[in-house]
Each structure stands twice: as structure tokens, then as C-alpha cells.
């Protein structure tokens, strides 16, 4: 029914999800082309959803029939930098230290 997922699409999706390395491989997880055929078989199975008539049906985003609860504007958190940084791969001077994000 729908066009099969091309390698280009798989590459685009992999890039958006920051999953695979530049050469298209993910160590220990096979190559992108294997994934493409897997995704196609899964999406092919999912195609059967098109049989369902959803004309004028509202999408269901939650099973909870409630409005968003609101909280009071009180300061109840923060002030524990050590805890926030405790699991950081690298931290210094109270900052998270990460690879340079600009050239």
C-alpha cells in the first residue's frame, strides 16, 4: 500500500534519532540495511490498521479523562547542585562538561 521504507529514509530516521554512526553501522547491532528490511516487515504488518474506519473518530491521547492538574507557584526544589551533577560523566566548577557544541 504505502511505499516501502527506503535506505534514504532509514538513514534520515537514524540521523534524527542519533542512533547509528556515520558509516551506517552500530557496533553489535548489525547494519542499517538489515534494519531497513526489518522495519519494512514490521510496518507491513502494521498496514492492516488501514482497514479500520476512523471517520470522525477523535484521537485518544490518554486513558485518563481529566484536565491537567495545576500546582502552586512555590519554590520547592533546586539548591542541590551536587545531587544534580552526581551522575554526570564529566562536571567541573558546578557545570556539566560536554563535547564542544559549536565549532
Amino acid at each position: 500500500m504505502r511505499d516501502p521504507i527506503t535506505m534514504d529514509t532509514v538513514r534520515k530516521i537514524a540521523r534524527l534519532s542519533h542512533l547509528y554512526e556515520g558509516d551506517g553501522s552500530a557496533p553489535g547491532h548489525g547494519r542499517l540495511d538489515d534494519l531497513a528490511s526489518e522495519l519494512n516487515s514490521i510496518m507491513g504488518w502494521i498496514e492492516q490498521l488501514n482497514e479500520v474506519d476512523v471517520e470522525s473518530v477523535a484521537p485518544m491521547t490518554s486513558t485518563v479523562d481529566m484536565d491537567a492538574p495545576l500546582r502552586r507557584d512555590d519554590i520547592t526544589d533546586g539548591g542541590r547542585r551536587d545531587v544534580v551533577l552526581a551522575n554526570a560523566p564529566k562536571a567541573e566548577g558546578g557545570f556539566y562538561v560536554v563535547p564542544r557544541s559549536v565549532k
Binding site: L70, D77, F95, V98, R100
Partner: protein, 492 residues
């Protein structure tokens, strides 16, 4: 959707060898919401704290952490919507907007995409020397701010501070209704004045609490819309004008050289006064918006909205009209006195029971001038409205002259103290005692017999005598009294 058909004022068209061009501008303004805590967490929002000291585990994107909406942020968005004469949507929703960045801990920003809290509205602006222009508001939505990346602490690493992560922002999107750099900055000025009057954003552009993304395209006057470029994070009125100017000319020169303007995101380089490319549409993100399953629809009761509406302060437009009507001051002065709630409040205290025009002149001329020279914000003025009022009262009751008052004001501004203290301490009280003035006048006439003789033929000489007497009194003589006695003695 482009709806506004308005063509730019003739003076705002950009002339070129190939004919006139018109610039079309829409603005996306991010305004930091005034609240104690963040949009979805209980961490504080204050400016200037130690890095990562105002961060909750939610703001740091820790596993299993969940957002809960701050009611004051919702109120502030509704209040702002009402101030923009906009439709308040009874049901809105939070969506996730996905992209990877080191200062975006969750890997997505919680924003409102399909169903914003505030819909269409409008505000009117009055660009310098122009007519009133109504600018359409497309929408206002609530979203989280990101953290801050610092690149200058290490040559090959980035340092991340998440204090700002999760702070509530209102993104206010205008329609493409602006037609010149001046209109763009006038829009921003007006928006800031409204936000400040409402108390929903402090409008501090230097701290980044109010920042503009400016969408610019060019076209032949009234013609087909061109491709737009978005200039990100422009953070002063002057930069807005410069950025629009530069970007319009850049696009025109591309088209005139036979090229095509590509849709892209650009940065404004304040040092060079120009815009440069950030990323093109081809590499643009695919944000994959979808409703945040951690948050339920935001429903507003009519009574909630009504209560906020009932508590709305007077907005700049209404206040300006009232100042003109009730105080009889000039439109220009009223405009200046209503950009900021604090300025307007000051004026109203000052003008109460006094000559409003004189009050306005003193504020705009003397007070603003002194603040400007001292590099102070209005809110930091060392002279309160009460203190300035007391000074104006001494002019009105002839204790001092207007001229001496300037000296007194200067001293009040620089070293504090009340007008009366300074007048008393420095002996600046005006001389109204007729005998003393008569003596000064007689002395002056005696010293200049020739001029006294000629005064009948040349009335200007009267001014000379007034000057002599005032000088002899060290400025303290009451000018009206001096005039009266002189005329009497010189038989004018």
C-alpha cells in the same frame, strides 16, 4: 497565512535601480514569564544564581521525572492574552518538540504546537511620525526555556548550566503585518510596554528575558510574498532595526542578481551589523511534535479567565488616552510616560494637585536626562515622585525660581536630601521682600544711568536690568517682583 494587504508607507519603500521594494516582517517574541518557580518544576527562576543551583531533577531530564504545570504561568499567559486583545482558548495542550542539544536535557522541549493557550489578537502601534497601525497577533503559547551553553571556559568542551532549563516562556507570534525596520522596533516597544504593564514579563532584553526572532522577506510593493528568512534571537531595539535593514538589502541584492532567496535561519552579528546563515531548511530539524503523554489537556474555566480579566491593570493605550484627556499633556509626552508602568505611576503621583504639564516637562526633560547621564534605570531613580513633587511645590509657591530649582534638583539627584533641606542649607530661598528688591533695583539703576535713560526707546534694556538685579541677588530675587519694581522705578 498571509492576510494583511497593507502596503508600506512611501517613505519606507526601499528604492533601487530596478524599482521599489517593500519589506514584510513578522515577529516571534520569546518573553520570560514572571513567576517564582519553573513551568513544570519547583526550582527557582531568579537571575544570576550559581550554575546548576536552580535545577530540579525534572529540569535535568532525570529518568522517571514528570512535569506538573505551574498555575501562575498559566495565569500569566492568560493575562498577557487578554492584554493583547486575544482569544483565550478554553482547551489547549502541551506538545513535545524534539531535537538534540546539550542544553536540552529531555531531548525535547515541551511547547504548545497545535493548540496554543491564546489565539488571535491585535495591538496597535504608532511608529515615529507615522499613523496608528494595527498589528495582528497570530498566537501565544507557553513553552520551556533551554539551559545555557558556555563555550569560553574550555577550548574543546562546552559547559552547561541548567538554571534556565524549564523556565516558562511565552512565545508571541505576530502576523506579517510590519513593513519597515521602524515598525518592527515600534512593535517590540509596544509589546514590551504591554508586558510590563501587565507584570507578566520584566522586558529585560539585556538579560535575554525578552528576545525576538524576526522573519523578513521582500517583495515588490503589494506584490507576491517573497521567501522569508528567520533571524534568531535579536536582543535590542536597535539590533532589530539593523537586522531588518541588512536582511532586506541582502535579499534584494540576491534577487536583483538573478538569484533565489533560500528559506533559512540566520543569526544577527551585532558587531558587524549583519545577518549570517545558521542552517538551511534542507538540514532543518524534523521536530516530530506530538501531545506530551505526561500532561493532560489544559482546560480553563470561564470563571478563571473572568477573574484575571477583572484584575487587569490599565494598559498603555488606555493610560495614554487618559493622560491626554485628564492631564492635558501632549500625545508625545503621554506616549513616553506610558511605556513603563513605573514611569506612569511616578507621573501620576507627581502630577496630582500640581501643573501636569510642568510635571511632565520635569520628568521627561530633567529626570530622564539625569538618569540617562548617570546610566541608571528608571526604577533606580534616586529622586522619588514625592521628593520631586516637593521641589515643584517650592517653585509654585515662589520659594525658589525655576532656574534655582534646576540646581536644587541636581543636588537632590546626586546626594539625596529634600528640596527644603537643600534650599535651607544653601540659602537659596527666593527674595520676595520688596524693600530688599527695591534696594537692589535702585542700586542697578544708579550704576547704569545711561541705560536707564534709554530704556523708554528700547524696552529690551529692561531685560538687561532684570539680569543685573538677579545677578546681584545671586538668583534668589523673585523675578516677578524684580520686574514689577523695575517698571515702577523706570516709569514704564
Amino acid at each position: 497565512m498571509f492576510t494583511a494587504e497593507r502596503v508600506a508607507d512611501a517613505k519606507d519603500l526601499i528604492r533601487s535601480d530596478t524599482g521599489d521594494w517593500e519589506v514584510v516582517i513578522g515577529m516571534e517574541v520569546h518573553a520570560q514569564v514572571v513567576s517564582q518557580s519553573k513551568l513544570f518544576s519547583g526550582a527557582a527562576t531568579g537571575f544570576g544564581a550559581e550554575p546548576n543551583s536552580q535545577v530540579s531533577l525534572i529540569d535535568a531530564g532525570m529518568p522517571g521525572m514528570l512535569p506538573v504545570v505551574n498555575e501562575v504561568c498559566v495565569e500569566q499567559a492568560v493575562r498577557t492574552g487578554l492584554g493583547l486583545n486575544a482569544r483565550i482558548n478554553p482547551v489547549s495542550r502541551f506538545d513535545r518538540k524534539h531535537y538534540f542539544y546539550v542544553d536540552l536535557p529531555q531531548g525535547y522541549q515541551i511547547s504548545q504546537y497545535e493548540h496554543p493557550i491564546v489565539g488571535e489578537g491585535e495591538i496597535s502601534i504608532e511608529p515615529e511620525g507615522g499613523q496608528v497601525i494595527v498589528v495582528g497577533i497570530e498566537r501565544l503559547h507557553l513553552e520551556q526555556d533551554a539551559g545555557k551553553s558556555i563555550h569560553d571556559l574550555s577550548p574543546d568542551e562546552t559547559y552547561v548550566d541548567l538554571n534556565r532549563s524549564g523556565v516558562a516562556l511565552m512565545e508571541i507570534v505576530s502576523k506579517p503585518d510590519l513593513r519597515s525596520p521602524g515598525e518592527a522596533s515600534a512593535y517590540m516597544e509596544k509589546l514590551r510596554a504591554i508586558l510590563r504593564a501587565l507584570g507578566t514579563c520584566d522586558g529585560d532584553m539585556e538579560k535575554g528575558n525578552l528576545r525576538a526572532d524576526v522573519n523578513v522577506s521582500v517583495r515588490r510593493p503589494g506584490g507576491e510574498l517573497g521567501t522569508r528568512c528567520e533571524i534568531k534571537n535579536v536582543n535590542s531595539m536597535r539590533f532589530i532595526r539593523q537586522a531588518v535593514n541588512h536582511e532586506a538589502r541582502r535579499q534584494i541584492s540576491i534577487i536583483e542578481a538573478g538569484g533565489i532567496v533560500g528559506q533559512e535561519t540566520r543569526l544577527f552579528d551585532a558587531n558587524r551589523g549583519e545577518t549570517r546563515s545558521m542552517r538551511s531548511k534542507e538540514e532543518a530539524h524534523d521536530y516530530r511534535y506530538f501531545p506530551d503523554p505526561d500532561l493532560l489537556p489544559l482546560k480553563l474555566e470561564q470563571s478563571f479567565v473572568d477573574k484575571i480579566r477583572a484584575g487587569l491593570p490599565e494598559l498603555p493605550d488606555a493610560r495614554k488616552a487618559r493622560f491626554i484627556r485628564d492631564y492635558g499633556i501632549r500625545a508625545y509626552d503621554a506616549d513616553v510616560l506610558t511605556v513603563d508602568r513605573g514611569v506612569g505611576d511616578y507621573f501620576e503621583v507627581l502630577a496630582k494637585g500640581r501643573d501636569a504639564k510642568i510635571a511632565a516637562n520635569w520628568m521627561i526633560g530633567d529626570l530622564f536626562g539625569a538618569l540617562n547621564r548617570a546610566g541608571l534605570d528608571f526604577s533606580d531613580s534616586p529622586v522619588s515622585a514625592g521628593a520631586l513633587g516637593a521641589l515643584l511645590d517650592r517653585i509654585a509657591d515662589n520659594t525658589i525660581s525655576g532656574k534655582i530649582a534646576k540646581t536644587v534638583f541636581d543636588k537632590m539627584f546626586r546626594s539625596g536630601g529634600t528640596a527644603d533641606e537643600i534650599i535651607g542649607r544653601e540659602g537659596l530661598k527666593q527674595v520676595t521682600d520688596t524693600a530688599a528688591i527695591e534696594k537692589l533695583v535702585d542700586d542697578a539703576i544708579a550704576a547704569h544711568p545711561q541705560q536707564a535713560q534709554n530704556v523708554k526707546n528700547n524696552p529690551k534694556i529692561l531685560g538687561f536690568f532684570v539680569g543685573q538685579v538677579m545677578k546681584a541677588s545671586q538668583g534668589k530675587a523673585n523675578p516677578q517682583a524684580v520686574n514689577r519694581v523695575l517698571r515702577d522705578r523706570l516709569e514704564l
